[in-house]
Amino acid sequence: MPYDLQTWIKVAAFAGGGLAMGFGAIGAAIGEGYTAAQANSALARNPGSVGTIFKSMLVGQAIAESASIFALVIAMILLFSNFTATSYVTVAGLLGAGLSIGFGAIGSGVGSGFPAGAACIGMGRQPAMSGRLTTNMLIGSAVCQTPSIFALVTSFILIFSDFSKVPVNPAWAALLGAGFASGLGAIGSGIGGGVVAEASCEGIARHPASVRQVTNIMLLGQAITQTPAILGLLVSFILIFKKFTATDAIAPGMALLSAGLCMGIGAIGPGLGEGIASSGGVRWIARNPAFTGTLTRTMLVGMAVAESTAIYSMVIALVLVFVV
């Protein structure tokens, strides 16, 4: 039995919605679970600070959940909107939207759990620093949400743009590729940003005097850790907005899909690696603030080297889009 366009649109919207919420719930749950596990450890160490630790856990979990709410928003739009389309490209756009936010919410959810957990442990150690730790945790967790916001933006563009005038082949592959580039590209940066913020909360609890340097370097480290996700967003924008000529061949479409996959998968490792490099810098600056300059330089060099593989992925993705 042949299916008409409207049926395929519904199929794509339902599948996209399921993918968005299914993948989108994973990260927040891991982040929340990690926070609760660290709160246990902090409570066992310092049962007297139960109120402060519980408050921190509550606030940390509320922020960690934001990424899964982004996924929920996209899933609901996909499931309950009436999409009237005149082109099969919309099918790929809706699937791409679900993939983008589903994958994109994983890293931010996991990452935001790290600073929340470290803040709980820190409060067990240094109850007097709970105010500074909470602020630092909130800033760190909020920055962790940035990659999932990139994925959310891509999803909105894929859902609300009019693709009726673009050729079905190869645009279908470009839109799916955009979802992969933006969604998978956000995973490493989200977790990496969380690793940096965790080290910063731990550092403040161990050496409260170093709070100013630690917070500043944390923000610098988190900003650089976001670059693989930005590269993913860039490639996804190129895939969405570039004008393609219609073709019957399958190879151009596969090249565009591969470009998205290449950038998305290629950004995971660098995001994580940069987060680990930056967390080392932050951790040791907290212990030895007198060497902030030297430690920051070493950290930045390490992060730049870790970034290089994301740049290789971007180069190959651009070759696949513009040359092949």
Binding site: G33, F54, L58, A62, S66, L72, F80
Partner: protein, 129 residues
């Protein structure tokens, strides 16, 4: 233990609801009734979600990492089902603006961030004086 959590919930929930009512009222006065209603609807469910996070906290303590993960996953799923209600309403009925409803869903988180950032700024200014 739970008193301290409830105090925190009361503080942020009342601020979020007050902000939502003021913003919503302002939007309704400006002729943007669906947006005003959307903000209030989204915030109401955001507040309920925040209260539920606090109420489920004791369930997650004293368990193994695996149990905590699965309890968290269940808790996220149940609360996400609840958060889906205002979005479905906004998508199905024209009297609620979808984007204003989405904004309302994040008002509690925005209040938490704003509270800590503003208090940090005022403390820094005091220490400079």
């Amino acid at each position: 233990m739970m008193e301290s959590v409830r105090e925190t919930q009361k503080k942020y929930c009342s601020r979020a609801m007050t902000a939502a009512i003021l913003i919503g009222f302002g939007l309704i006065l400006a002729g943007q009734t669906p947006m005003g209603k959307g903000v209030i609807l989204g915030t109401l469910f955001s507040v309920i979600n925040f209260i539920l996070i606090g109420e489920t906290l004791p369930l997650k303590l004293g368990k193994s990492k695996e149990k905590t993960f699965f309890l968290s996953l269940g808790s996220v799923m149940v609360r996400n089902l609840l958060m889906a209600v205002p979005l479905i309403l906004a998508l199905k009925f024209d009297q609620f603006n979808l984007f204003a409803t989405i904004g309302g869903l994040f008002l509690v988180q925005l209040m938490i961030l704003a509270d800590h950032l503003l208090s940090r700024i005022s403390q820094t200014q005091k220490s400079q004086i």
